[in-house]
């Protein structure tokens, strides 16, 4: 009989296999985890979020992964994280105290159409798969499609570009689904978006090059998280605002969440050692997931201990 303990988290999997693994985790840890379908992708695939909860009417922390479909190590890391979070409840004091105060929502595959497409048709696919009338090109960069400085610098108006922002903010159902969930929940206190690669831990802003009001605190938390992450295998992260660390980019998720009042908004850019880029070998999934978990935990602990 299969269970989540026998699942191979150290391998890349198709969307169907990831969704099966999610079901195994839910079946194994019923008292802590449940699965909710929060929407449907452009091509009709379910968008599932895992809810880790031990009580009613709690504030929440959101974690999503792999909004750009070709970042396979990201979705793999999120799946491992889901299992770890469930497994640790009742065993690890940090996770137990977190889940006794907060619900955690974990979206393992943020862009299911793109993920499926990257497995079957184009390994390097990054965008959604939405079709726009009048254009021969398909898809929108879902991390340029949020309602934060939408249409500003660092996003393309060209539908054929890999960073096409889309016709309007939240035009992509995958983005609108998450935004609607966050809005309707009303008590999300932390938002972590996991991407890869380039080993960065970023916080707002990206659509403008001014520091956020909570710059000092976010920078301190970010540095603590990067330091915890680095302690395991020595992986070095750069920490800072999106604009100062990489480039100005409008329409990103963590800018939107910060601007609607989610103070603790962070984005991880996971490993690459400079050799493989988006094609990180499967042997690096578990080390990546293990080190990332230490960084995520630092952020979760800070949210837990600093209610607002």
């Amino acid at each position: 009989e299969r269970n989540s303990g026998s699942f191979n988290f150290g391998a890349f999997h198709t969307l169907d296999n990831l969704y099966n693994a999610i079901d195994l985790i839910v079946a194994d840890y019923k008292s802590v985890v449940s699965k909710q379908q929060i929407g449907t992708s452009y091509e009709g695939r379910p968008i599932y979020v895992l809810k880790f909860s031990t009580g009613a009417d709690r504030p929440g922390i959101w974690i999503d992964a792999g909004i750009h479909s070709r970042e396979w190590v990201t979705q793999a890391t999120a799946l491992w994280t889901a299992h770890q979070l469930a497994f640790d409840y009742g065993k690890d004091t940090s996770v137990t105290s977190l889940l006794n105060k907060y619900d955690v929502f974990l979206l393992v595959v943020t862009n299911p159409d793109g993920y499926a497409y990257s497995h079957t048709a184009n390994r390097m696919w990054r965008k959604t798969r939405s079709i726009k009338s009048g254009s021969r090109c398909v898809g929108v960069d879902p991390n340029r499609n949020w309602n934060a400085g939408f249409g500003g610098p660092g996003a393309s108006a060209d539908p054929c570009s890999d960073s096409y922002r889309g016709p309007s903010a939240e035009s992509e159902v995958e983005v609108k689904t998450v935004a609607n969930f966050i809005r309707s929940h009303g008590k999300i206190k932390g938002f972590v978006s996991i991407h890869s690669y380039s080993q960065l831990l970023l916080f707002p802003y990206g659509y403008k090059c001014t520091n956020p009001a909570h710059y000092t605190e976010l920078n301190t938390v970010g540095k603590a998280a990067a330091s915890a992450l680095s302690a395991l295998y020595g992986t070095q992260y750069t920490v800072g605002t999106i604009c100062s660390t990489i480039y100005q980019a409008s329409g990103g998720s963590i800018d939107w969440t910060y601007d609607i009042g989610i103070k603790y908004s962070f984005a991880f850019e996971l490993r690459d050692t400079g050799r493989y880029g988006f094609l990180l070998p499967a042997t690096q999934i578990l080390p990546t997931a293990q080190e990332t978990w230490l960084g995520i935990k630092k952020i979760l602990e800070h949210v837990r201990d600093n209610p607002y």
Binding site: Y197, T245, G274
Partner: protein, 94 residues
């Protein structure tokens, strides 16, 4: 299914803002169909670019003419993708 035979990923290091500007110019040459895995924005962060086989010569010539350092990060993208596929099939069977 799209294949990537002969495509390379170059890791480019722009040593100044001026050279970063030249990489941004390269980004605007859409006919080369370059896929920037990391964007040219900050001289401290290397720029990784996936280059279709037919654009390789032009891009390398441009970089060398402008004295911009680069290394080949991935020699043939399809080889890595094939390895990845084989590994997935092996795991699936297991």
């Amino acid at each position: 299914e799209k294949t990537f035979v002969g495509e390379q990923v170059l890791r480019i290091k722009a040593s100044s803002n001026e050279k970063m500007g030249l990489l941004q110019d390269l980004q605007s040459l859409t006919h080369l169909q370059l896929d920037f895995w990391t964007e040219p924005a900050n001289p401290n962060i290397p720029v990784d670019v996936r280059i279709p086989f037919r654009s390789l010569q032009s891009v390398k010539a441009y970089l060398e003419y402008n004295n911009i350092d680069y290394t080949i990060m991935i020699e043939d993208l399809q080889v890595i993708i094939n390895n990845e596929k084989e590994e997935m099939e092996f795991n699936e069977r297991k």
